[in-house]
């Protein structure tokens, strides 16, 4: 580190995580009834590393027949084994999955970053440990459901169809699978088509854990596959995490059926900074809120509200901090912001950047260099944005922050709630009474005070309004996978 004669460079050297210990097969089939089987469509699609645009593997495209096969396998497993064995036994299997995830944590982290473009630091420190934590937490509940829901005689629902997004592939699989299994249901899970790999590795792990055949089935494909799963008449419940647009479609197609539904959809969270906040800490929270995982976070703090008398200070510090963020190779341990998940998503983000500029708002992007190949978007800040603009109304799902100022508490609450979404919000102030005032008046499923993007399996997560309904995590999350009496 200390060079004697040579010119001193203060830039960080590359620190790439090795990919040697992660094995990715050339081709992945569908995981149905405990085995990997080729799809009836005989079709496979490529999964791309968004940081290099290179193909990583080929993934089976499940057709209607395959979906039917998977649902039948889940039904059989439900009828013959999973609903018959004791709750304590169920718990043991789930514990085993949790432990195996921990054992293979590095492999999962590496593949998650290769396939999805998120920085290895995040997949290693957030996604994978939290996924394991969800299995551990729910394993504990398996034989204690009667205590969680006293006098309600909780019973399992049956076969659950689950569809998950591409922003936290393994973690979302864990959020879905762990409570469903703990409550005694069997599952057909469909990961997003751009990020199927860790779900398929999880299928291998579940097979290795010796879970009875058919309890967990993982089928891959795009929208059509999901549609077939939603419309299958032997599925008792659908749990979906993804865009509000698709959520609405699912709800329409399930109208009038007895299929139960929970939806965790989009968001446009308000992150509110008061003048009495610890400003530097708030700036860290703003950065974490919107640039974490390239802003591909449904609860991202994408609308920043700053009290007007500290706005200049916040902007200056935020810009300074944005320039410290390293954008680039997701496998580098120093990287803060990785690759945008797909070409399509990058186009969507760029469309919003243009819209913001066209509206005449000030756009600031950090000055960092980005690689030539791959899909990249520099951390972006729009200032002097108006409440009526597209960029402060619609979910961008990228590292783009729209900032407004406010003058009074009532004003900021009105503006924060003035959105069709209601998933999360953040409040930054050193005054406790302000926090309690806002937490009770903000219409959001989660309100963070002096922190942002904190997740824990014990804490229920879910939305108001068009951000969906149903909760995941905690006791509330369990009830979404149970029939309760009275």
């Amino acid at each position: 580190m200390a060079k004697t004669k040579k010119e001193i460079s203060w830039d960080l050297s590359p620190a790439p995580e090795s990919t040697g210990h992660a094995t990715i097969d050339k081709r992945y089939d569908l995981f149905i009834d405990g085995k990997f089987v080729p799809p009836s469509t005989k079709k496979y699609f490529k999964t791309i590393n968004p940081a290099t645009e290179e193909s990583l593997s080929e993934i089976a495209l499940a057709g209607e027949k395959d979906v039917d096969k998977a649902v039948k396998a889940a039904r059989k497993a439900y009828d013959t084994t999973w609903s018959k064995i004791s709750a304590a036994e169920r718990g043991k299997y789930i514990y085993r999955i949790a432990r195996l995830i921990q054992e293979r944590a590095r492999e999962f982290a590496v593949i998650e970053s290769l396939d999805g473009g998120k920085p290895i630091r995040e997949s290693r420190d957030v996604d994978v440990p939290l996924a394991a934590a969800h299995f551990f937490y729910h394993a504990g509940w398996a034989d204690k459901l009667d205590y969680a829901f006293a006098n309600s005689s909780p019973t399992s629902i049956g076969v659950v169809g689950q569809i998950i997004p591409w922003n936290f592939p393994l973690l979302m699989a864990a959020w879905k699978l762990a409570p469903a299994l703990a409550c005694g249901n069997t599952v057909v899970l469909k990961p997003a088509e751009t990020t199927s790999l860790t779900a398929l590795k999880l299928a291998e792990l579940i097979r290795d854990a010796g879970l009875p055949d058919g309890v967990v089935n993982i089928i891959t494909g795009a929208g059509e596959t999901g549609k077939a799963l939603v419309n299958h008449d032997d599925v008792d419940k659908i749990a979906f995490t993804g865009s509000t647009e698709v959520g609405k479609m699912i709800r329409r197609s399930l109208a009038g059926t007895s299929t139960r539904l929970t939806l965790e959809l989009g968001g446009k969270a308000a992150n509110i900074v008061f003048e009495d906040a610890a400003i530097d800490q708030a700036v860290e929270g703003i950065v974490n809120g919107i640039y974490f995982n390239q802003g591909h976070v449904c609860c991202a703090g994408s609308r920043l509200f700053v009290e007007e008398n500290v706005a200049n200070e916040v902007i200056r510090k935020l810009k300074h901090r944005m320039n410290q963020l390293i954008v680039g190779d997701p496998m580098d341990k120093n990287t803060d912001v990785g690759a945008i998940n797909s070409k399509g998503q990058l186009h969507t983000i760029e469309k919003y950047l243009k819209a913001g500029e066209k509206d005449g708002f000030e756009m600031y992007q950090s000055q960092v260099a980005v690689p030539k190949k791959g899909y990249w978007c520099r951390p972006t800040l729009f200032t002097n944005v108006s409440q009526s603009s597209v960029i402060s109304k619609e979910e961008i799902f990228g590292p783009v922050l729209a900032m407004q100022t406010f003058r009074t508490i009532d004003e900021v609450i009105d503006k924060a709630n003035n959105t069709p979404y209601g998933l999360s919000a953040g409040v930054w102030t050193d005054k406790g009474s302000k926090i309690f005032n806002l937490t009770s008046r903000l219409k959001a499923g989660i309100v963070w005070a002096n922190t942002f993007n904190k997740f824990d399996p014990t804490s229920p997560f879910g939305g108001y309004k068009e951000s969906g309904f149903g909760r995941e995590g905690g006791i509330h999350g369990l009830s979404a996978y149970l029939n309760l009496q009275g």
Binding site: M1, T4, K5, L12, R316
Partner: protein, 260 residues
């Protein structure tokens, strides 16, 4: 490079001329196996050894820093503190490391703390003043930030975390808050103030963490010994150990590095 940001220090009741001589020799000859090494930034001693130290290191381009103002407690009368400071400067000290009156700070007597620092600054003349907050006695990060503001406003050239006599000494959170105070002052006035974390930074890897923190908070302009110092003597040997390893590929035992 981190080596020339070090203030090589001996501040013990049992310090003697012999001890100071040895320290000064090491300051200018860090390791016999690596002849091209830079020197440390300064040696830091008690006022009574300033003259001796100055005579030993001045021609090597190494500064002499002296603690003053009833170090480490600061519990004495202002006139003695000022005399001590003037005396140390007269003996040749290039830099003065003073302590603030933490008791007065806790009493809320901020004007006293401010006035005392500016009086000492005046007594320093051209010598640069480092103001030790002794963060281990300050209590919380908000108070550390406030104490930093007072010290900077009163004329500190450097703010420094600790005397090394109180635990905890320098920590990363405390240092970050002080760096933020320096940055905020720079934003408001365009004037730079130096930073010296002291005590507890004993290995190269941790030193690197601090340097990255300085780079990311303040920028590369601060990454010279004019604006950043480590108050840590044991750090030198670990840095030397890493340098020897870089040259030879082998870690040497501690026996190969001089203890001073």
């Amino acid at each position: 490079m981190a080596l020339n940001m070090i203030d090589l220090t001996t501040l013990e009741g049992k310090d003697t001329e012999g001890k100071v001589r040895q320290l000064c020799h090491k300051a200018a000859h860090l390791h016999h196996g690596l002849p091209d090494l830079p020197n440390v930034a300064a040696v830091c001693v008690y006022p009574t050894f300033v003259k001796l130290a100055k005579s030993l290191v001045a021609d090597r381009g190494i500064k002499v820093a002296s603690v003053a103002t009833a170090f480490p407690s600061g519990q004495s009368f202002l006139k003695f503190k000022l005399d001590e400071t003037k005396e140390a400067v007269a003996e040749g000290a290039d830099e003065i490391d003073m302590v603030i009156s933490r008791g007065r700070f806790h009493q809320g007597d901020y004007n006293f703390v401010f006035d005392e620092i500016s009086a000492v600054k005046e007594a320093c003349g051209t010598a640069r003043l480092k103001v030790i907050l002794e963060t281990g006695e300050i209590g919380n990060l908000d108070a550390v930030y406030f104490a930093s503001q007072i010290a900077i406003a009163a004329g500190a050239d450097f703010i420094k975390t600790s005397t090394g006599k109180i635990s905890p000494a320098a920590t990363m959170p405390v240092t970050l808050v002080m760096l933020e105070a320096i940055r905020d002052h720079y934003y408001q006035t365009g004037k730079m103030v130096g930073m010296k974390p002291a005590g507890g930074i004993s290995n190269a890897k941790l030193a690197l963490h601090y340097l990255i923190m300085v780079k990311e908070t303040l920028g590369e302009a601060w990454l010279t010994n004019e604006w950043f110092r480590f108050g840590a003597s044991s750090l030198a040997n670990d840095l030397l150990k890493q340098l020897v390893k870089q040259d030879t590929g082998i870690y040497q035992s501690a026996n190969y590095f001089a203890l001073d």
